[in-house]
Homo-oligomer: 202 residues x 2
Amino acid sequence: MQFSSRLLEQAVDEFGRLPGVGKKTALRLVLYLLKQPDADVSRFTGSINLLKENIRYCKNCFNISDQEVCEICVSPKRDHETICVVEDTRDVMAIENTNQYQGVYHVLGGLISPMDGVGPSDLKIEALIDRLRSGNISEIILALSATMEGDTTIFYLSRKLKEFDVQVSTIARGIAFGGELEYVDELTLGRSIATRVPLSEK
Amino acid sequence: MQFSSRLLEQAVDEFGRLPGVGKKTALRLVLYLLKQPDADVSRFTGSINLLKENIRYCKNCFNISDQEVCEICVSPKRDHETICVVEDTRDVMAIENTNQYQGVYHVLGGLISPMDGVGPSDLKIEALIDRLRSGNISEIILALSATMEGDTTIFYLSRKLKEFDVQVSTIARGIAFGGELEYVDELTLGRSIATRVPLSEK
């Protein structure tokens, strides 16, 4: 791509660094911003700078929060004996959207991934152990992605958590609702047959 | 979407305003930026602010440029008697990439679109007329998108340009190279039959 302006090229380069944004999309976004009023553009860049400078994480569960302790962690309505361990704040939002979970969370901030140089010490695992030591925790739900990194992290955590008198579970894996059997990959289908659930107790 | 932080929500809202960026993508991009070093994020926002504040348009062809007159307009190697009229700077880049065009450009800055409230006076049409009046122009190539807005603009321009002793042409429309006939839409196929080109002169 040949740019007629170095400033334009720099902005497109920066946008192109974002995940899933190629050069052409970056150019489209930058030209869109160029057409917007000055106030809109400074509000755009300002909101990012503001977030980056003032971002805080709940000191309890490490979810993104504007307060020192997040709303979920201070809520008396939540079940503080159950901790759902997730990768990042998006998973918290996804689970909250289901309205099916009343416990609290623990945000690891990533998954163990030797390929990307992410080890257990880069994640909030020690903080989770501390919560187990200090609190009255009865169950840990590992709600991690069904990927190699997710499985590695589940394996590591399950060994770490063995010494505690706590129920450890993972979220169920199987075919999704609305999923047609013929399009499900073999691994998922095989596992959902192996972990089949009886329709009624005999 | 329920956000655990108002700052996060604001940044996601701002990203979500970009064309083609939905809420989920916006959240992914914002969380990605959050994980980057401070310096990277301020370089990202800085490059946009810098571009927005210092952007200049060539006073001749209105292409984005760092100088008062762009490199193409000052180049003695270009054919300054041929002007290619395009919608925006992306089209200049696309045409430059072909290495097929040696003339100069005129960037309209948009297309006539009554639906979006864009009239002829919002575009650099008067400036194009001025160039015709003052310069030694022999041909105007209208390289505009094959959309309703493009056709409307071509129609408007062709009438405006009638009073000048200048050859006005539009870029050819037809089936694309590598395009399979059965997948071409009827309009394009019909037009490319109507405007068929003889293989050899009889």
